[in-house]
């Protein structure tokens, strides 16, 4: 093969990657910008000055050292759990049970730190994190098995397992009868973990801990796994067309189970890092819904692990800045939920419109496309009105 030809392969490869990246980043950024704009209008309608509000939001999240540190702390569990959700979506599996898996990971990490304190100090936090990974994976194992081998919708089962996980944690730390409950405490919580089990603080004088580094590192790892490994190829194939994957000899069920275990494990890591890096004890209801927000993180990142870093930072910043916005301008902190929701909504509309636009195009180019299941099903209701 000549040099020229291989160069052209490289350009094409790069081009295709460019084509791959442009909509992935373009739509989300546009959606966020539009959400901020519309929200500004809403603020103005309620008699608040949007400029002042957004300045407070910015100061409280990115514009000050303290704000930035809060953003980074908030984004850590969002990133880890968001990666888990993203990889499952990528494989066409809708694991929306990150919240329960996060609690399972937190329980496993806490128990390990409390009951195995004899381990050497460098090893202990690592073992605790691995316990968190395992806890999350165990929590998704039953839904994964049901999904792959019994055809039970993972959406329902993982969602139900959230409640089991949350209340199981509450039971464990119950002050009266919970096996991990700390008698005499004001709020249901476990004993405080030994300091040797803590994740190190990576930004002195703030609460930013090593969980963030783990999250960013795992995002890079997942990027490589998805793009450059046979497992990633299988995962994408199963996510794009499980039937064709089956025909091509890819073990679809095994891939599904593996992806769900990884997904749950990542959510478990989010819970473990929250305990080991920030809270230092297991509290009842300690997560303000990080596992649910992780779904939004993955959606906004369009299931790309690299984009998930930015997406998690956005959600982290919103939550961090909300406090300052409430204190200085008097805008309810829950207002950022509106911004977040609008961003997801606009993104969904953008993607939908894009599909609509390219739809008939495909129908003409791929001559048989008129027979694709998607087309037939979308056309069916129209025709039944006849």
């Amino acid at each position: 093969m000549s040099v020229g030809a291989s160069a052209s392969v490289r350009t094409r490869d790069a081009l295709s990657r460019g084509r791959d990246l442009a909509p992935r980043w373009g739509y989300p950024l546009f959606a966020v910008a539009l959400a901020l704009l519309v929200s500004a209008g809403l603020l103005a309608l309620t008699g608040k000055n949007p400029v002042d509000a957004y300045r407070a939001l910015y100061d409280g999240s990115l514009g000050s050292t303290f704000g930035l540190s809060v953003t980074l702390v908030r984004m850590t569990p969002l990133l880890l759990a968001g990666l888990g959700v993203a990889i499952s979506f990528r494989a066409g599996v809708f694991n929306i049970g990150a919240e329960g898996q996060l609690y399972a990971g937190a329980i496993a990490a806490t128990a390990t730190a409390l009951y195995l304190p004899g381990l050497p100090s460098v090893v202990l936090p690592i073992v605790c994190m691995l316990a968190g990974l395992g806890g999350g994976a165990v929590w998704v194992a039953i839904p994964a098995w049901l999904r792959a081998y019994r055809g039970v919708s993972e959406v329902v089962v993982t969602l139900m397992f959230n409640f089991i996980g949350i209340y199981f944690a509450s039971y464990l730390v119950n002050l009266d009868y919970g096996p991990l409950g700390l008698a005499g405490s004001a709020y249901p919580q476990s004993n405080v973990i030994p300091s040797r089990a803590e994740l190190p603080i990576i930004w002195p004088t703030t609460s930013v801990h090593a969980g963030l580094l783990i999250g960013v590192f795992l995002a890079l790892v997942l990027f490589v796994v998805i793009r450059y490994t046979p497992f990633g190829f299988r995962l994408r194939a199963v996510g794009s067309n499980p039937e064709a994957a089956q025909y091509a000899g890819i073990p679809v069920k095994r891939v599904m189970v593996a992806v769900m275990l990884i997904s749950g494990g990542l959510a478990g890591l989010a819970g473990a890092s929250e305990i080991l890096g920030l809270k230092y004890a297991l509290y009842a209801n300690f997560s303000p819904g990080y596992g649910y927000d992780a779904i939004a993180v993955a959606l906004l990142a369009r299931n790309s692990p690299i984009a998930a870093i930015v997406s998690a930072a956005f959600f982290g910043a919103m939550r961090a800045g909300a406090v300052q916005m409430e204190q200085t301008v008097g805008v309810e902190s829950s207002f950022v939920l509106i911004i977040e929701a609008l961003a997801i909504l606009f993104l969904a509309i953008g993607v939908f419109v894009q599909r609509r636009r390219t739809g008939p195009d495909d129908a003409v180019k791929g001559t048989v496309a008129a027979k694709t299941p998607a087309e037939t099903s979308s056309a069916a209701p129209d025709m039944e009105t006849a």
């Binding site: 067309n241 064709a244 089956q246 001559t367 025709m383 009105t385």
Partner: protein, 509 residues
């Protein structure tokens, strides 16, 4: 056939133009249909037939052009509006609810006053009358999923008659029917026309257009090539108008396999279950030798898919056994030197449409060298492999990184076939490999399969198109309800004989 040119005009579409991004699907198309006329719309896939009919049925709005009904200009905003104007369509894929009865399907969507009670008995009576009047034989209380395909199609037509539609559009109605059912359909279409209804009959099959229609409009590349009485041009002329160049689909044998050639594919009393757990293959035995094409004829849904999947190891064999290249099939093989399998639904099971051409070409081999080394995918090897293969497939100019979804049906099938045949397998299964392809692409697939035969592969050619089975097979078996009705040689059998076998009459010769 009667002369219909002087009958009053029912429909006129004038200067219809519809553009999709990058494609001019309809370019200034004008067509008129008269009362009592069967007007055939002939053209290859992608010629613009479907787009034109979607415009007529209100599913698409044209960029330019006007529609006149009985001389008055109308605007068709939706299928409901089309039906209100007396225009009805029988789609290629039926729009029936399988678990409702025939009469319930007919009543679905009928205009009625809010809160009024459903008059099921009245509708049943009327349906029974209509069914008798047109010899359609549809029982109002039969559940649709228990009806044969032909009966479902007749029910679709009844749905339109119930609404007293004056203009019927039939979209490739014969593609799902056995020869005898085709005859019945043709009789019914003529009967509807004789009552003064107008009928648009969409097809890409010349013979049936010749048989059923009064006039024909030929479309090619979104334009009208000609409109003329059907009996004026010869079949050869019509074919040439459709494709744009002379073609011949005749019998093409690439020499017969020697009697001593090794048996590469062998089925011994194979029984297999369908998706719903009922036997779909019953005691099937056959042998295919190297250098031989064995045709499998039959009406769609008589065990063809299950047969292919049992051989490919994708479906459990309940009893009996399958030998490929002398080895018993146990589970799925990804060995491209042993078995090439072109599944019947390339878009759902053969290809991943959102994946690039290059990725689809390595779908069975991406995790082996040279595409994976030391645990990592080697994209350069994947693209180089794609470009080499695409050269052989005459797709040299196409970028291997574009998604397969952006390719034409013919090129999608090239990718599919190219992937499965790259290892020169000893057994090739081609299941409905030409379905939905235009004549040029069909020829291309036939050539590739004949090439495989010449190379020494044992080819199992499964198709519901009797003509092509007759054209390229050395021997033919006919499947009916999962059983082999008999084996024939194409040069010794008539279409009528095979047609009988396709309807379940065993050949006793």
């Amino acid at each position: 056939m009667t002369q219909t040119v002087d009958n009053p005009e029912v429909l006129r579409m004038e200067g219809i133009t519809k553009r999709f991004p990058g494609v001019l699907a309809n370019d200034d198309i004008s067509i008129d249909v008269r009362a009592g006329e069967v007007h055939a719309l002939l053209g290859e896939n992608g010629a613009g037939k479907s787009t034109l009919m979607k415009v007529l049925y209100g599913l698409l709005q044209p960029d330019r052009g006007e529609i006149f009904l009985h001389g008055g200009r109308i605007h068709i905003s939706s299928p409901r509006a089309a039906v209100e104007h007396g225009i009805g369509m029988v789609h290629q894929h039926f729009m029936l609810v399988p678990n409702l009865t025939a009469v319930e399907n007919v009543m679905l969507g009928l205009p009625r006053r809010p809160l009024s009670v459903l008059d099921r008995a009245g509708a049943s009576r009327r349906l029974r009358e209509l069914s008798a009047e047109y010899y359609l034989g549809v029982e109002p209380n039969a559940v649709v999923e228990n009806l044969s395909v032909g009966a479902q199609q007749r029910l679709e037509i009844l749905k339109l008659l119930f609404r007293n539609v004056r203009l019927l559009v039939l979209d490739e109605p014969t593609s799902v029917l056995a020869p005898a059912e085709v005859e019945q359909l043709v009789r019914m279409v003529r009967m509807l026309a004789a009552e003064g209804r107008a009928i648009i009959f969409i097809s890409h099959k010349l013979e049936e257009v010749k048989e059923v229609s009064d006039r024909v409009t030929v479309l090619r590349d979104g334009r009208v090539v000609a409109t003329c009485p059907t009996d004026e041009p010869s079949s050869a002329d019509l074919a040439q108008m459709t494709v744009g160049r002379p073609i011949t689909i005749g019998r093409r044998l690439g020499g017969r396999a020697s009697e001593s050639a090794a048996t590469e594919l062998q089925l011994e009393g194979v029984t297999g279950l369908g998706d719903h757990g009922v036997p779909a293959l019953v005691n099937v035995s056959l042998e295919v030798r190297a250098g031989e094409i064995m045709g499998v004829a039959g009406v769609d849904g008589n065990g063809q898919r299950e047969l292919a999947e049992c051989i490919a190891g994708l479906r459990r064999i309940e009893s009996g056994r399958v030998l490929v290249g002398g080895r018993v099939v146990e589970g799925q093989s990804r060995d491209l030197n042993l078995l090439g399998f072109i599944p019947e639904d390339r878009q759902r099971t053969g290809l991943i449409l959102s994946f690039s051409i290059g990725e689809n070409l390595v779908l069975k081999s991406f995790d082996r060298p040279p595409f994976t080394r030391r645990g990592l995918l080697r994209w350069r090897a994947i693209w180089e492999h794609a470009r080499r293969l695409m050269g052989d497939l005459r797709m040299r100019r196409t970028d291997p990184t574009i998604p397969v979804a952006e390719l034409s049906g013919g090129n999608q099938q090239r990718v599919m076939v190219g992937r499965e045949l790259q290892g020169d397998p000893s057994v090739v299964i081609a299941s409905q490999a030409t379905r939905g392809l235009d004549i040029g692409a069909v020829e291309n697939v036939h050539e590739m399969l004949l090439g495989q035969k010449k190379r020494g592969a044992a080819v199992l050619f499964i198709s519901t198109e009797l003509n092509e089975v007759l054209a390229i097979s050395d021997r033919i078996v006919v499947l009916y309800r999962g059983e082999i009705m008999g084996e024939v040689r194409p040069e010794e059998v008539t279409i009528e004989d095979i047609g009988e076998m396709m309807l379940g009459r065993r050949r006793t010769a």
